[in-house]
Symmetry: C2
Subunit: 251 residues, 2 copies
């Protein structure tokens, strides 16, 4: 069933008032009429089966038929810090990362980022990012839309990392050192509800200064398999492995 994320301010007891871009989708793309059923998600995580009771070009009103008791969120809270990559790779990370359960995304300017974040285009870009994660949340039936933060420097990212219970970064060289800890041993240490920050470098990986800085600030280096992954594949591997570990491994 089609699903829409509606801000909490648009809910009034058992009525939902839908406005903005969703109107086009409801009336033109899906061609819904009064009496049709949709699922509405509040941005606080609740979801309800609703029936459309009023429909026009300005707004759609839907009535709650039944509150849904569903939760498909990952049992741990995962944020992806992605070194700003070239082209539209960040779009792919946002779309697929949302499908795979990320709770947030933090683009950051890494030393080897070829692309420099353009503040003049920032507003437009962040608007596109919001659209991508909202649509991917609806498509994948998420309870919550992930947050996309403003791009930050690596120093700001390290400040931000103080809010997390565990911090890791993708760095395949690390697997060659003696006291290497596997990704599995890290995940075994995380309890349900805890916050994990996963940091992925841009195309050229992290510089050695960045590696040292991350390590001295409590980030563990992990390997994501022995093959060399492109930057946009690394976060997807990490999220799939986390889902497998916490949601699909029990026998």
């Amino acid at each position: 069933m089609q699903r829409y994320f509606i801000p909490a301010s648009s809910w009034n007891e058992n009525k939902v008032v839908i406005q903005g871009n969703d109107i086009h989708h409801i009336t033109r793309v899906m061609r819904f009429v009064s009496g049709d059923k949709i699922i509405c998600n509040s941005d606080t995580g609740e979801a309800a089966l609703c029936e459309i009771i009023e429909i026009d070009h300005e707004q759609v009103v839907a009535e709650v038929l039944k509150w849904l008791d569903e939760d498909v969120e990952l049992p741990i809270k995962v944020a992806i810090a992605q070194g700003i990559p070239k082209g539209d790779k960040l779009d792919l990370v946002l779309q697929k990362g949302t499908e795979l359960g990320a709770q947030g995304f933090i683009p950051f300017q890494s030393k080897r980022s070829v692309v420099v974040w353009d503040n003049k285009k920032a507003e437009k870009k962040l608007k596109r990012f919001s659209k991508i994660v909202k649509e991917a949340s609806e498509q994948s039936h998420r309870n919550k839309i992930p947050e996309v933060k403003q791009p930050m420097t690596i120093n700001q990212l390290i400040q931000e990392s103080l809010h997390y219970d565990m911090k890791i970064f993708a760095y395949e060289e690390e697997a060659k050192v003696k006291d290497y800890r596997t990704f599995g041993s890290i995940l075994n240490q995380i309890d349900f509800g805890q916050k994990l920050l996963i940091c992925v470098g841009p195309e050229g990986g992290f510089s050695s200064e960045e590696v040292n800085e991350l390590k001295s600030n409590g980030f563990h280096a992990i390997r994501l398999g022995p093959r060399i992954l492109r930057t946009e594949t690394a976060a997807l591997y990490a999220l799939a492995a986390i889902s497998y570990h916490f949601e699909e491994m029990e026998t």
Copy 2:
């Protein structure tokens, strides 16, 4: 270091004769000259550190300096059978699936495939597919290039599946039945070297006839996390989970 897959027929004791498209990459893209070092992979899985000793527009000759004792292949052999999806999604599955260690790909015509495989364009398409998996193999430092099979019908796929030790298909509805077996319990049953076939439906998923047919031919239905994944994301989740299970979980 840059890596090239060179057919076994181009190896002569400790010399490798490189021809075709790789010449452009070596001379124009990488601007290599005599004395530069590259890694050459034979399509039988061996790899060697080589030095370029002759270079012109027709061919490049490289000499083996050292045979490399590296193996980054997944410990189990995984083939992805992908219901033919829309647009360029199959390209993404091939590229990312190669990075993540798939040993082969089998496109198949599923009942809900919107796109019908056009036999007139088949040669051109398969050529592009070969290029994608070759380049992704080089980039991810694979020992072997995955094979992309000619598209087949679901009945041909079921015939093909007789060559596999374990067969699964992505079908989230299955998680709701009582005797559901998790993805983890399936992977626990597979030994190193065994062959696993993973079958993913196109955008609309499998029809109920296809589900019944797969089940009655020994395919196990599995869930890839509780969120709804797009068709092109499913294979990537499965491969990342397999890598995690067999390569990164041990503590």
